[in-house]
Amino acid sequence: MLPLLMALSLLQMVSGSVLETFEETLLVYPSLLVLVPVQIGTAGNLASIMCARLSTQFHLGTFELHPSNPDVRANVGAVLALALTIFSLVGVAAWAIGRVLGGSLAFWQVFAISMLSGLALALLVITLSLVSVTASFRLGYDPDDTTIPIVTNVCDVVGVLILFAVTRLVL
């Protein structure tokens, strides 16, 4: 347990270093600091839902990595719809909270950052979940044990990178 926790902490340092290089911008615009835990947490939640559902289908024998599979389509559709709903709510809330905390970003800027990074994260979650369930199956591991930790940790690290890149693009 302890070595695994330490290895994961080292991996998380990558997102930490990105945040650190990003420090000046984050301190000027508190809306962005509000976004950091929310975007990453939501990506993790979407990942757990998608991986848990795909693993169950895998155990039931209905999982097949193919765009015509109705289960895969339903999961992808649901994750995209959840992402659109949540990340628009987040955009509004982060802008409003940022205003209260003394930030100066325009509504469209915060909203665009939340939506663009959120949708990029949702696409990442979908791709990673499908790939890791398929890979677990091929390698003979139970996807219930492997997929959620892998996908949520990758999302933590890549989530900060995406947030950083999208902020660069919008601001």
Binding site: L4, Q12, G16, P30, P37, V38, G41, G44, N75, I97
Partner: protein
């Protein structure tokens, strides 16, 4: 499960839990964006560097404790009573030690990263903040987790469904809050 779930059904089923954790995430973000936290970030080099690792640890340590407790309850080797049963005590002690060890480890790694990039920073300050934040979150997470899992189990709720939301929600909000408390206390001591 002969029929296939539609996207609409999955959406309806998943939305409430996601919205609850969204509210918690916004709380955590608000503390992170608050004036005193921003002052802390500015005055403590390395604070943003260790933030993601610190928050992720909460899930790893207390998520696995919750999973262990609920498996024990189902197997009948743990009784949902608040007596100091040896198994429960061992599980709690192990997560406490894991949590504290990883917190200190994170502080040391963050210091080494700062050192490697020549940004300066104080090992004592970072270790102090992580010890305080790690200890406070251990107290809170252990007591809430054991209480909710035991009480929930006695009332017929599946503890496996309770652990995840508790850990992510409380872990993020109080992780950031206790980090701020740590920064304050260490700033006052040093």
């Amino acid at each position: 499960m002969a029929t296939h779930d539609s996207a609409r059904e999955i959406y309806r089923g998943a939305l409430p839990a996601i919205v609850v954790s969204l509210v918690a995430g916004l709380f955590a973000g608000t503390i992170l964006g608050s004036e005193s936290m921003r002052a802390g970030i500015q005055s403590v080099p390395g604070l943003l560097l260790l933030l993601p690792a610190f928050l992720a640890t909460r899930g790893g340590v207390y998520g696995s404790l919750g999973a262990r407790l609920s498996s024990g309850l189902y197997q009948g080797v743990i009784e949902p009573r608040f007596e100091l049963d040896e198994r429960v005590a061992h599980a709690i002690l192990a997560s406490f030690i894991n949590g504290m060890t990883v917190s200190v480890f994170i502080a040391v790694v963050a210091f080494l990263v700062l050192l490697a990039f020549g940004e300066g920073g104080s090992l004592l300050q970072l270790v102090g903040i992580m010890l305080i934040a790690g200890f406070l979150s251990a107290l809170l997470m252990l007591s809430v987790l054991v209480t909710v899992v035991f009480v929930g189990y006695r009332r017929g709720l599946d503890p496996d469904n309770l652990v995840g939301p508790i850990v992510t929600t409380l872990g993020d909000v109080f992780g950031v809050l206790f980090l701020l408390v740590g920064v304050r206390i260490v700033g006052w001591l040093m």
